[in-house]
């Protein structure tokens, strides 16, 4: 603890959101500083780097109007903390964690560092409880479980937000008695999207916390907003045993903000200009999802990513896919066919599905049905390519059957409009389609006759 409070007027350089200050006596990495500009406007900043008495500050807020002469820096001797309380439920904040809903700030029962601490891998519990989203393509084939992080890979113009809204409205844990809440993090959202999401949030029964960074808000806050949200999530989940669903949209804006700041710091750019540490940085967010041994709660995370140029190998979806436990990929082709939600199940994947389905979780025949649908649809899609060359007439009868199956599968199983389907309805639908094409696997037939 430092006893004296110093005001420094030794700013030597301002570049974008970055401030260089000289001749500092004491500073810490990550320390919060107050930057006071002309006419007493004040912002917060954070110390990024210390080099022999000179420091580099990252500023939250607009640097326009500042010059090196009229800025004063005050040190706080603490790193950034988040105020926490269960009163936070139902509130809306901006990227600096200031209330947006016109109500006063709540009384904090506790403060915790926004960066958080990594969960000890041995203290983790394996995610295995099924979450019903009401969407067949997810529940049936890419099942979401509690504590999982499952991103949605979308492309510009695809109805990702409609899909998210539907998940929000229907998401529930089967037979859960615990409290459930949604934390919504908007990063660089346009007003149109914002009002859509807010509408959706107000329609849901569960409580929610919203942290909103709009497209014209400071870029810097885009990097902080998800950290605030996850600190709140950890508090509610692990201290108050709640099931928390964290929805982050759009992570592409987050990564672009990261690139912008990295560039301003003159760091070495990696692929497509994104910094080399983007993997670790994204991991420090995504890995905060999960369950731990000494708590009943859980954090499930659904980040939305818009793939630039529809390219799944772009660094943002690529690094995300390496960290998250699967992905839900939306397809432009299905969207053009009028299928909603346009989930392409072939590249989609839920890594934790195996543990979350089957007897006692969903239904005994879930795994077999999913495999069978998958196999036949993959075959049908493969044959569609052939159809484009030789035409339907040139194909064998059995091959035509698979083509029809693929079409029916897309139109009846994947496509479901706005109605939610329970997991049992989803599985019945699957069985029904397979029966129609006489593709029910033998072991399932046997089970059926037994019943």
């Amino acid at each position: 603890m430092r006893l004296a409070e110093h005001k420094y007027r030794t700013t030597s350089k301002i570049a974008g959101q970055l401030l260089y200050v000289e001749n500092i006596h004491a500073a810490r990495i990550g320390e919060v500083v107050k930057v006071i500009g002309p006419r007493d406007i004040s912002f917060e900043g954070e110390i990024l780097e210390i080099v022999k008495g000179n420091i580099l500050i990252q500023l939250f807020g607009e640097t326009r109007g500042l010059n090196t002469e009229n800025v004063e820096i005050v040190f706080t001797d603490t790193i950034r903390h988040v105020p926490l309380s269960t009163d936070i439920l139902g509130r809306r904040f901006n990227g600096s964690f200031t209330p947006l809903d016109g109500l006063p700030m709540f009384y904090a029962s506790e403060w915790r560092p926004a960066r958080g601490y990594p969960i000890n891998p041995v203290a983790r519990l394996r995610p295995e409880e099924f979450i019903e989203t009401g969407i067949s393509a997810i529940d049936g084939l890419n099942t979401l479980v509690k504590g999982q992080k499952l991103p949605i890979f979308s492309c510009a113009g695809l109805p990702a937000k409609e899909l998210v809204a539907q998940i929000l409205q229907n998401a529930r844990l089967r037979e859960s008695t615990k409290k459930f809440a949604v934390i919504f993090v908007a990063l660089g959202l346009t007003f149109r999207e914002y009002s859509f999401y807010l509408q959706a949030l107000q329609n849901i029964e569960s409580e929610f916390v919203a942290i909103i960074n709009m497209a014209d808000d400071p870029v810097m806050e885009r990097l902080m907003a998800p950290r605030f949200a996850l600190t709140v999530a950890e508090f509610l989940a692990f201290d108050h045993d709640m099931d928390i669903l964290v929805l982050v949209t759009d992570m592409t804006n987050y990564c672009d903000a990261l690139r912008e700041i990295s560039n301003a710091r003159k760091e070495l750019p990696g692929r497509r200009g994104y910094p080399g540490y983007m993997y670790s940085d994204l991991a420090s967010l995504y890995e905060r999802a999960g369950r731990i041994r000494d708590s009943q709660g859980s954090i499930t995370m659904i980040p939305v990513i818009t793939m630039p140029e529809d390219d799944i190998t772009h660094p943002i979806p690529d690094l995300t896919g390496y960290i998250t436990e699967g992905q839900i990929v939306l397809s432009r082709e299905l969207h053009q066919q009028g299928v909603f939600p346009p989930v392409d199940v072939l590249p989609s994947l839920s890594r934790l599905m195996q543990k979350g389905i089957g007897t006692g979780r969903t239904r005994e025949d879930h795994r077999d049905l999913a495999n069978q649908l998958y196999k036949n649809y993959a075959k049908g899609r493969e044959l569609k390519k052939l159809e484009a060359i030789v035409g339907r007439e040139g194909m064998a009868e059995t091959d035509q059957l698979f083509l029809d199956f693929a079409t029916v599968f897309e139109n009846e199983f994947i496509h479901q409009e706005k109605q939610a389907r329970s997991i049992y309805k989803t599985l019945d639908k699957a069985l029904q389609i397979l029966e129609r094409f006489n593709l029910v696997p033998d072991n399932l037939k046997k089970k059926k006759t037994e019943i």
Binding site: E31, I50, V122, F238, R271, Y277, S280, E325, V390, G394
Partner: protein, 541 residues
């Protein structure tokens, strides 16, 4: 020891810290700041030293103290390592939970081993015997193993006192006339390869239970396989399946920069699965070194050195060890981050120019050796690589290709059609096939080589026919070719594909041979009457 030399922090940038302290040695371990964060000396300068801090530096302030220890960053080796899960700096994670709860806070733990635990010790040497580094002076019983106690490599002398019966690690078990006290454990600098008498040529396989690996792309004991693959191609599942079933004595699993949930799944499974060879839980033959993606980056860099040093230790005790690392790309990225914060000139894709040399000296630590005590021990490696965008031309994959002996390429399109393990049979290779051929012919089956080339021939033919078939359909093919397609399909689905979640996850070598023999027989039968040629002639065409 310079334990009383104190300096202070001048600069901090990420995990790189500059101090005004001089007189330190390169790679010396240091304590940094008021919280005693662990660090290592990475560069010596005229008026100061550059340190690498292995923990989160947020909150670290200028002018905080730095202290040298006069020792290198080391791995502690002894009984009690098995079935424990360590972080990249060899801190037992379970002990960390007791100290800081479910979340990891920067903290210093004195010793990775339980020093108080009592072990039954049986001596093998007597008073007056002359002993040198590597000599076994006795053993203790640890789980399913007899854990030999060895003299640390750099010590020798005459025994003047040796313990017997219950011992713990706090008291010396042996004293030498040179004044050396031998404890049940010792430390070894993690970046220095442990010595051995001589390196031998590999000649035996590591049976992984994966048909495609054991039959088509075998790994030799002491060899290195790499598994590159984009996300979702099943790298982790494949590594974990091999960790479960491989016929080795000890498995070291390094989860380097990967997912936390996967690790919790792995531990849970390993605790409940039983090793058929010893009837003990699989965990009893496993050491886990885990630095998940959200744990400090610099410790991720250290984690594979911790893992390989542990592996070498068990090799020196005369065991066959398999080191699985998932994934080397995350290690390379950590190296890149560190290099960039040291302001070094970047090489290809921002990786430091010493990436290839670091990787090759790491891979060279694998091998079959005659240990200092004259036993045979081996350390084999299976390393997964996560190339960005699934593009194998990137520097990490390329550097590993030059040094490793087997390349198991994971294929996104195979994974998308749910063919697992998604190893591409056309592109993958194993340089160990020739040195292992004799072993397989002698110990498994005479027709090993013949069946192998036949299998590859069928798959090769299938690939060239695939394009034609896409246009003309299977009906348009000649009968001969149709046979190839049917047999190849059978090889794909009944032989190369293997479900990691069923009993099929491990396939005995003998069963592997039977399956492939059965399938290829179909092919030969279908071919023989039509062509009217003898078997051998057919194969030559």
């Amino acid at each position: 020891m310079k334990t009383d030399t104190l300096g202070k922090i001048i600069s901090i940038s990420g995990a790189t810290v500059r101090t005004d302290l001089t007189g330190l040695t390169l790679f010396e371990r240091v304590s940094v700041g008021e919280q005693n964060l662990t660090g290592e000396v990475v560069r010596l300068e005229k008026d100061g030293t550059v340190l690498q801090v292995y923990e989160d530096t947020s909150g670290l302030g200028m002018n905080e103290p730095v202290q040298g220890h006069g020792l290198s960053l080391a791995t502690t080796l002894g009984p009690g390592l098995l079935s424990v899960m360590f972080d990249g700096l060899q801190r037992p994670l379970e002990a960390l939970v007791d100290k800081t709860g479910s979340f990891i806070h920067p903290i210093h733990l004195p010793c990775p081993l339980d020093l108080k635990k009592r072990w039954p010790f049986t001596p093998l040497v007597n008073k007056g015997d002359t002993v040198a580094g590597g000599v076994k002076i006795g053993y203790i019983d640890e789980g399913p193993f007899q854990h030999p106690m060895i003299i640390p490599p750099d010590i020798n002398g005459r025994v003047i006192d040796i313990a017997q019966g219950a011992i713990n690690l706090e008291e010396p078990i042996c004293r030498l006339d040179t004044g050396s006290k031998i404890f049940g454990y010792h430390s070894w600098p993690m970046r220095v390869p442990r010595p051995y008498r001589k390196k031998l040529t590999p000649g035996e396989p590591v049976i992984t239970g994966q048909r495609i690996i054991d039959f088509l792309f075998p790994l030799a004991r002491g060899g290195t396989s790499i598994i590159p693959g984009g996300f979702g191609t099943g790298k982790t599942i494949l590594e974990q399946t091999i960790a479960k079933h491989a016929d080795v004595d000890i498995v070291i699993y390094a989860g380097c920069g990967e997912r936390g949930n996967e690790m919790s799944e792995l531990i849970e499974e390993f605790l409940h699965l039983v090793d058929p060879r010893t009837n003990c839980p699989l965990m009893d033959r496993t050491v886990l070194v885990v630095n998940t993606s959200n744990m400090p980056v610099a410790a991720r860099e250290a984690s594979i050195y911790t893992a390989v040093t542990l592996g070498e230790y068990y090799r020196d005790l005369g065991f066959h060890v398999l080191l699985l690392a998932d994934s080397i790309s995350r290690w390379a990225e950590a190296l890149r981050e560190i290099s960039s914060s040291l302001e070094e000139m970047p090489g290809e894709e921002g990786y430091p120019t010493y990436l290839a040399s670091r990787l090759s000296s790491f891979v060279e630590r694998a091998g079959v050796v005659e240990t200092l005590s004259g036993d045979i021990g081996s350390l084999s490696m299976i390393l997964s690589v996560s190339p960005p965008g699934g593009d194998f031309t990137e520097p990490v994959t390329q550097a590993l290709l030059r040094t490793s002996g087997a390349f198991l390429m994971l294929d996104t399109s195979l994974a998308n059609s749910r063919h697992f393990p998604a190893i591409n049979w056309m592109q993958s290779y194993s340089l160990y096939q020739d040195i292992l051929a004799d072993y397989f012919k002698k110990n498994l089956s005479n027709d090993w080589e013949v069946l192998r080339s036949l299998c590859r021939e069928i798959m090769h033919k299938e690939e060239s026919l695939q394009e034609i078939m896409e246009i003309v359909g299977i009906e348009g093919l000649q009968e001969q070719d149709r046979l190839v397609m049917t047999v190849a399909e059978k090889i794909r689905s009944d032989f190369l594909a293997q479900n990691a979640y069923t009993a099929d996850a491990f396939c005995e070598p003998q069963k592997t041979m039977n399956i492939i023999r059965g399938i290829t027989e179909l092919y030969l039968q279908g071919q023989a009457p039509k062509a009217g040629k003898s078997e051998n002639e057919t194969r030559r065409t």
